[in-house]
Symmetry: C2
Subunit: 381 residues, 2 copies
């Protein structure tokens, strides 16, 4: 086990009717900026619940943080924070709304441009406190420090790290209006977050392995009911809990991580605008195949414990485990080949060119360079 | 899934050599009281490491917090805090040292006696901040709010809840000098902490079930190496991690808990002075048998996933699962019958008398009353 430091200060509040608790959690002595996405919260009743809870508070609304939040939009919110003396931020919506809010909260306290902050985190000078009402189980943003920000002008997409949300409220009934495609992408996103923290070496921590496998097993187990129309409360509650626990550090203590699938996926999304979870499932089987020797022992363990694959040679078990993983994504109704979304060689070549130019090296052994990325993506067309 | 609020603010630092980080974590502007147990930290080198890290800090030492910490001892430390203007507490040792320190930290801020505070938590007026260097994996105290305090004069033992430790440092090499019996008790304690949060209802949260089972599976898997003389670093690191994760709220989100085994065990320890982990293993099989109908579905799930018991009728599977659990405790070298430790009917009768007098009702359905406790304990003699 590697030495580690773990701390996660977010107060997590999960359950039916808990949005009403906002009134007791928000500061009375600060002006609050409530940030929203495109308006789905007006259709599913969340907006009304938030407004009811905010009665008597001093707050403004900022609308329009889009999926894969763009710095061009976030700059406007940063201006509002600076001009309106905002002291607290509340993100209401999906992971993108909160991701964008994490950058706003930090950029509001500096002179420099928000994108400069993404490129150079040393510019950060603290953060406005922020919290969330999360309505879409996927990113885990509700209980971690990270966010991913896109730049429309440059076609780039990079991660940024702020502090933790002060609190996050998750009411499973707010997911009942989610379309099937967003549920599928959320399941895939959760699954691959855990894979990136798990599919590296064996024997570092049997406990963290069990916990990572526990999230994967749960996602596989609940997926059919999540995608059905029945909106079973407990199923959606466990979906929300799995998404949050998949990326809050709880399965990552003392173990090696990878994240190459995400880094490659971010490039595809930046260039093609594809949904994050959908994008990742096209990349992961390629990464597993490229690193099948290095990750072999862990792939076999994962195949056995999550997919029940116990027969065959090591090579056969690896092949069957990669196939089972891809088949699971297809069972969610997601595309697993780039060509299914019209993505071809030109995109692959641009990503490889960028990685070559930047000297990018990904994966736990930093051996996913531009050439390996080329091999990974070409087999996924 | 039940609605829940989760927050755990402790900074957990686990790894070889991490005690040196104390210097960067402790406050320079406050007088610190460092609390210790009986002196094992002087034999295993921990005291020397702590003293080295504390160079330049303003601190006092308080020695002698015993196993099952007694309020009679803790009162003396409370006086030191009040008289010496202590502003921060650092517990160095096992769970008992930290448990005692949690009460000291709260009692230092009130006029009333420390035992009155245990009996009436409404007397609490905040807490001095406190942290730990934990050398014994067992209680989970290093990352939770709880402590259990004994009163020598009255022969009572009750839980008390303070805030979380600011930080806890766990260096697995500090466990290398632990005797086999303490390791066994720590494994049993960890196992039963998780059982109390798990062995209730099925289908509340498949994820929490997997995580609880993950701790149980890990404890079973590492137990032989923990008890051997080889002092394998990774084994002991995973033992420490399992003990911490077993009682920090991470496996308890949204699920029903029991805790009757602990409550009955506390009475035995209060009356007979038996070690906590050793005491619990004598009680648990009795509780499982008493509630075999109510908990049947979960006992079967536990038997299948942790012990691989998949054959037979439900009744047979329950019997075999209870037997496998007891056999595991015996494999640790622990007694599983009260008579093995010379505990007989007189103790059972006193506990039953107390529960009758207090109107005690334990378990998730509050149906473990004095009569059920009588049945549970008599079958364990």
């Amino acid at each position: 086990m590697n030495n580690f430091v773990f701390q996660n200060t977010t107060k997590l509040i999960l359950g039916r009717g808990e949005i009403a608790k906002l009134a007791g959690l928000l500061p009375k002595d600060k002006r609050i900026l409530v940030t929203f996405g495109g308006g789905s919260v007006k259709r599913n009743g969340v907006y009304d619940q938030v407004v009811a809870a905010l009665e008597g508070f001093d707050y403004l609304e900022f609308w329009g943080i889009e999926p894969n939040p763009k710095v061009e939009t976030l700059r406007k919110a940063v201006e509002v924070c600076k001009n309106e003396n905002i002291g607290f931020l509340l993100a209401v919506g999906g992971g993108s709304t909160l991701d964008g809010t994490k950058l706003i909260a930090a950029a509001a306290l500096i002179e420099e441009d928000a994108w400069e902050l993404v490129l150079n985190p040393k510019l950060q000078r603290g953060s406005l406190p922020f919290a969330s009402v999360m309505t879409l189980p996927a990113t885990g943003s509700e209980m971690n420090r990270g966010c991913v920000i896109s730049n429309l002008a440059t076609g780039e997409k990079f991660a940024f790290y702020n502090t933790f949300p002060v609190f996050s409220i998750l009411d499973p009934t707010t997911t009942f209006t989610l379309p099937r495609y967003q549920r599928a992408c959320g399941l895939a996103d959760t699954f691959i977050h855990v894979i990136e923290q798990y599919l590296t070496c064996v024997d570092e921590s049997p406990l963290m392995d069990r916990w990572a496998e526990g999230v994967l097993q749960t996602v596989v187990e609940i997926a059919p009911k999540v995608l059905s129309d029945e909106n079973d409360y407990d199923t959606m509650a466990n979906f929300m809990l799995s998404a949050t626990m998949g990326l809050n550090g709880f399965v990552a203590m003392g173990v090696t991580q990878d994240w190459s699938t995400h880094r490659i996926g971010h490039e595809i999304t930046a260039l093609c605008g594809t949904t994050h979870g959908q994008t990742l499932v096209m990349v992961l089987p390629g990464v597993m195949n490229e690193l099948r020797e290095q990750k072999g022992a862990k792939i076999v363990q994962y195949g056995e414990r999550v997919w029940g694959i116990t027969e065959g040679t090591t090579e056969e078990r690896i092949d069957r485990t990669i196939a089972a993983t891809e088949e699971f994504f297809r069972s969610l109704g997601l595309a697993t080949r780039l060509s299914e979304l019209g993505i071809g060689e030109d995109v692959v070549e641009e990503i490889v060119r960028r990685f070559r130019e930047r000297g990018t090296r990904l994966g736990e052994q930093l051996n996913i360079d531009y050439a390996a990325t080329d091999r990974i993506l070409r087999q996924r067309i």
